[in-house]
Amino acid sequence: MSRFKKEGGKDLPELNTASMSDIVFMFLFFFMVISTMRETSLFVVINIPKASEVQKLEKKALVSSINIGKPNQNYIKKLGPEPRIQLNDQFAETSEISEFVESEKQRRNDVDRTMITWSLKVDENVKMGVVTDVKQELRKANAFKVNYASRKDIKR
């Protein structure tokens, strides 16, 4: 260490770290905006049911969700109050599910393909008919791991 002092002689000028916090705050806001953006893109109203025995889904990258519910205020006039299926960012019919399953499988690598959990986010007032149809389509498309999204309920 003493070798440096001989050569330099002078002190190093202090690094100005005042802007560092600005950069980090920018990161902070970026992540906050990104993490809330996905929640707002739902076209259907979903109020998921309560359950006491819920399990957390471990890997978020291995979850694909299928949303079923009434269209929200912007779409209810055009589409009516019947429950609709939303895949990614658009409304879909039951027959399009196998296509969706394929494209979701393509996005993952070979090892992960069989590990995908299909999270069914369904409004509690939806009738089982639609859900059954979706489940049948999933079975046909070899997508067996299903999660019925529900909120944790405090035990009575």
């Binding site: 770290t17 005042a18 560092m20 916090s21 980090v24 705050f25 990161f27 902070l28 992540f31 906050m32 993490s35 998921i48 049911p49 359950a51 006491s52 025995e53 819920v54 399990q55 957390k56 889904l57 978020k60 979850v63 969700s65 959990t117 999270s119 069914l120 986010k121 369904v122 409004d123 509690e124 007032n125 939806v126 009738k127 089982m128 008919g129 859900v131 059954t132 149809d133 489940k135 049948q136 999933l138 079975r139 046909k140 070899n142 997508a143 067996f144 791991k145 299903v146 999660n147 019925y148 999204a149 529900s150 909120r151 944790k152």
Partner: protein, 192 residues
Amino acid sequence: MAKRTPALNTSSMADISFLLLTFFLLTSSINTDQGIQRKLPPPLRGDEKVPPVNRRNVLQILVNMNDQLLVNGEVVTDVHQLKNITKDFIANPNEEIHLSDKKPLYIDELNMNAMVSKGVVSLQNDRSTSYSIYVAVQDQLTLAFNELRNEYAQQNFGKSFEDLSETQKKGVQKIYPMSISEAEPSNYGGKK
């Protein structure tokens, strides 16, 4: 100006904001999906035959379009009764003739023989059944099996199921397998 104000030391500011950043990153990832997990059966092929199951080994749960429950021919008014019905049916502590039969099975993981119930829960719902009652039923069934596993773990290992080792968990899961069969969709009493 008589005096210059000394520069504020802002080097700790970065630490503070990093702390905030990590805090928000962590809290936003906690908001993961949660729910009841199930495995769907592979699609039926025409030439496949369903293995015959003895009537006493089936706990038949029917849910109609008005969200009313019929369990083995008896009306159940409250979903929450379903847990105890299922537990009795699977555990069958007094070897009753109308509840599920048991068979001895060798459990590799625990290196022992155990009596495993042959019982199967058969769940059938109408197209007009509401999703909330369906989830409630699934929840009660999960609760029943979880409690059975937990009780077994408490009795034999002296700790809860969650605290067991992975192999022990697998063994206990084999003793109380979650055998829930969902009937192929039907449509009685109501239009689509």
